[in-house]
């Protein structure tokens, strides 16, 4: 059966990983990280290719993809806001900031906006526990979040 453009890209990415790092034991998580970095999410169509490359069952791969919170099975928004919900941020007003973030970004926690611009996700601790409430916005740490910070973030991610 001829490859579709997607499966050709998937095969190429997996082969590249296998040539560079595939000899290590326990390569499944590193491979899934590499694929998510490249494609943005782990498409269900990737699973059989990953399973074949590592000589695992599809069920094994599916089980791992669905176990870890980091791995997405759908594309995220163009901007990703990971807002900390853990105790130290709560001690600094995190719960109110969470409600305000949902309101100002217009997405529920764990959701992506209808226009695909922004995804809001919970994270349980970024290790910045004395300067919260904290978030990672497109990979950049942001601390001491207040209402003004949220306004700035909302403008940034919906621009």
């Amino acid at each position: 059966m001829p490859d579709t453009p997607e499966t050709a890209a998937y095969r190429e990415a997996i082969n590249r990983f296998m040539c560079a790092d595939g000899d290590g034991r326990g390569a499944l998580l590193p491979l899934l990280h590499a694929l998510q970095d490249e494609f943005g999410y782990i498409d269900d169509a990737l699973v059989p290719h990953v399973a074949g490359a590592l000589n695992l069952s599809r069920a094994d791969v599916h089980g791992v993809v669905t176990f870890y919170h980091d791995f997405r099975r759908r594309p995220a928004g163009r901007h990703v806001v990971k807002l900390c919900r853990a105790e130290s941020c709560q001690a600094r007003g995190g719960a109110a900031i969470e409600r305000a973030a949902i309101d100002k970004l217009g997405v529920p926690m764990g959701g992506t906006s209808g226009d695909g611009r922004v995804t809001l996700e919970p994270v349980y601790c970024l290790g910045l526990c004395a300067i919260g409430p904290n978030a990672m916005v497109d990979g950049v740490p942001v601390s001491r979040i207040d209402s003004a910070t949220l306004d700035r973030l909302a403008a940034q991610v919906t621009a």
């Binding site: 130290s88 601790c125 004395a130 601390s143």
Partner: protein
């Protein structure tokens, strides 16, 4: 040309250190990026090389460059070591953090680096294990198991290969010492792992770092690549987690490195006998391994003579949450909770009264002010119905609703449960529902009795500390803050 030192720690960057560093570079200063000293109230912090030593200024904004360089900046602090927050610390593990360029091998060696590894490699493996045992070092991840005994078990175990695994899955809220060490002095951890490898006969090691710590991942990878020749024939690699708190449990962590779902294994067999890929494996926390170079370089006695009771040496304590002087405070065991929170921490950041502290992360107990006499010690905290865990202290002011925090403890357990054992997987969800009924004022007495019974089942019936310790925050909340449950007139409706 002036030389200035500015932290590249993730917390410093979150507070704006990159923009400050760029401004100094644009002004022609030589900028050395370091780890963080660990007091976030004074960050972004800039230290300037002068004939009188490194003079600190902080916090500094990008427009403060000229004032810092001519010495007129209003936030002049003087020498870091002279500040009250730092003067009384006993920095064994964090001695270099904030001082050196984290990935500069010359800097590391000039500040005492590799002395522990050189001392270890001049000794027989059994002698290295004996020194670690005699130091009294106990596992800093929370369980407090004697490190030397764990190493002895792996040394004695038969295996065609053995592994050193560093647990850097620091998921507890209120803790950040592992992150700071990996970002600020990564060779210290690498040296500790190389000493462990020599002591037990391991050839390869893994540092398992949570994905929420991208700065630590990058720094450790760079440091491992740069120091490969120095630690050879021992080899190391970083593995990155994928957002699962339970992978901080050592057997779940091993399954995760093996490429599986991070589910907890039943023990026995102990990882020391049958660990990673079924081989004898040392699994130690970052802080345990990073304490080892000091012990080998200075001797077991130098470490063991500090401390309290059976808790020997120093603990890098993390002051977090609503606290004025939040940061990292390394000190010998035995200091009281009250000294840490009120004197060193300076009370709350909001200026309101301290009402509660949670010690040891999401699985740690909530303590009221009436227990601030407790000495920081594994046994004292266990006797008081809590744990010191990874030594994070999260401070709450008088606006905290402890019933909501008890609910959150159950909610967090439900989100993060690996699902293998029933008390944790199902008990946590039933726990959320039960606390919700208490908060709503439904049959409060009966529901509290039910919640206590559920906690009993989770504590004794769970496979690992996630389900087994979630009762600590819940029961301590019930015991010490009964006014927040049910009968209180201001009880708020469930969300």
């Amino acid at each position: 040309m002036s030389r200035v030192y500015i932290s590249r720690d993730m917390a410093s960057v979150a507070l704006g250190a990159d923009a400050v560093a760029d401004a100094f570079a644009a002004a022609g200063a030589e900028v050395v990026r370091t780890g963080s000293h660990g007091l976030f109230r004074i960050e972004p912090l800039v230290e300037v090389d002068t004939p009188d030593g490194r003079i600190a200024y902080g916090p500094v904004e990008p427009d403060g460059v000229a004032a810092v360089l001519d010495g007129s900046h209003a936030n002049r602090l003087g020498r870091i070591a002279d500040l009250p927050f730092f003067a009384a610390q006993q920095r064994f593990t964090f001695a270099r953090c904030g001082v050196i360029d984290p990935v500069d091998l010359v800097d590391y060696a000039a500040h005492g680096g590799w002395a522990g590894l050189d001392a270890a490699r001049a000794l027989a493996p059994a002698d290295v294990v004996a020194i670690v045992r005699d130091s009294g070092l106990r596992g800093r991840g929370g369980a407090g198991f004697p490190t030397g005994i764990k190493w002895q078990t792996v040394l004695d175990a038969k295996g065609d290969e053995k592994f050193i695994v560093c647990n850097a899955d620091e998921g507890d809220s209120g803790t950040f010492a592992d992150r700071m060490l990996m970002e600020g002095d990564p060779y210290c951890l690498i040296e500790g792992m190389a000493i462990a490898a020599h002591a037990v006969g391991a050839g390869h090691g893994y540092v398992y770092i949570r994905s929420e710590y991208p700065f630590a991942v990058a720094t450790m990878r760079e440091a491992i690549a740069r120091s490969a020749g120095r630690i050879a024939p021992f080899t190391l690699e970083v593995r990155v987690g994928a957002g699962a708190y339970v992978c901080g449990e050592e057997t779940a962590l091993l399954d995760s490195i093996e490429g599986k779902r991070g589910q907890v294994r039943a023990k026995p067999p102990l990882p020391a006998i049958s660990g990673l890929f079924g081989k004898p494996t040392v699994v130690n926390n970052v802080l345990s391994l990073a304490a080892v170079p000091f012990i080998l370089a200075n001797g077991a006695q130098a470490y063991a003579e500090i401390g309290f009771g059976r808790s020997r040496g120093t603990m890098p304590i993390q002051l977090a949450g609503n606290v004025k002087n939040g940061g990292l405070y390394e000190i010998g065991f035995g200091i009281t909770l009250g000294e840490l929170v009120d004197t060193i921490g300076g009370g709350t950041d909001s200026g309101r009264p301290v009402r509660a502290v949670q010690v040891g992360g999401p699985l740690g107990a909530y303590f009221p002010r009436s227990m601030f006499h407790l000495p920081f010690d594994y046994e004292a905290f266990a006797a008081a119905g809590g744990l010191i865990g990874h030594a994070g202290i999260t401070v709450f002011d008088d606006r905290v609703d402890i019933a909501k925090m008890a609910r959150f403890a159950m909610e967090f357990c439900a989100v993060e449960s690996c699902g293998k054992c029933t008390p944790c997987r199902i008990g946590s969800t039933r726990g959320v529902e039960t606390v919700d009924r208490i908060i709503a004022g439904e049959q409060v007495g009966a529901q509290i009795a039910l919640l206590r019974d559920l906690c009993d089942t989770m504590k004794y019936g769970s496979l690992c500390a996630l389900g087994g310790f979630t009762p600590y925050p819940v029961l301590s909340a019930l015991d010490h803050f009964p006014e927040d449950f049910g009968g209180a007139p201001l009880a708020v409706a469930a969300e």
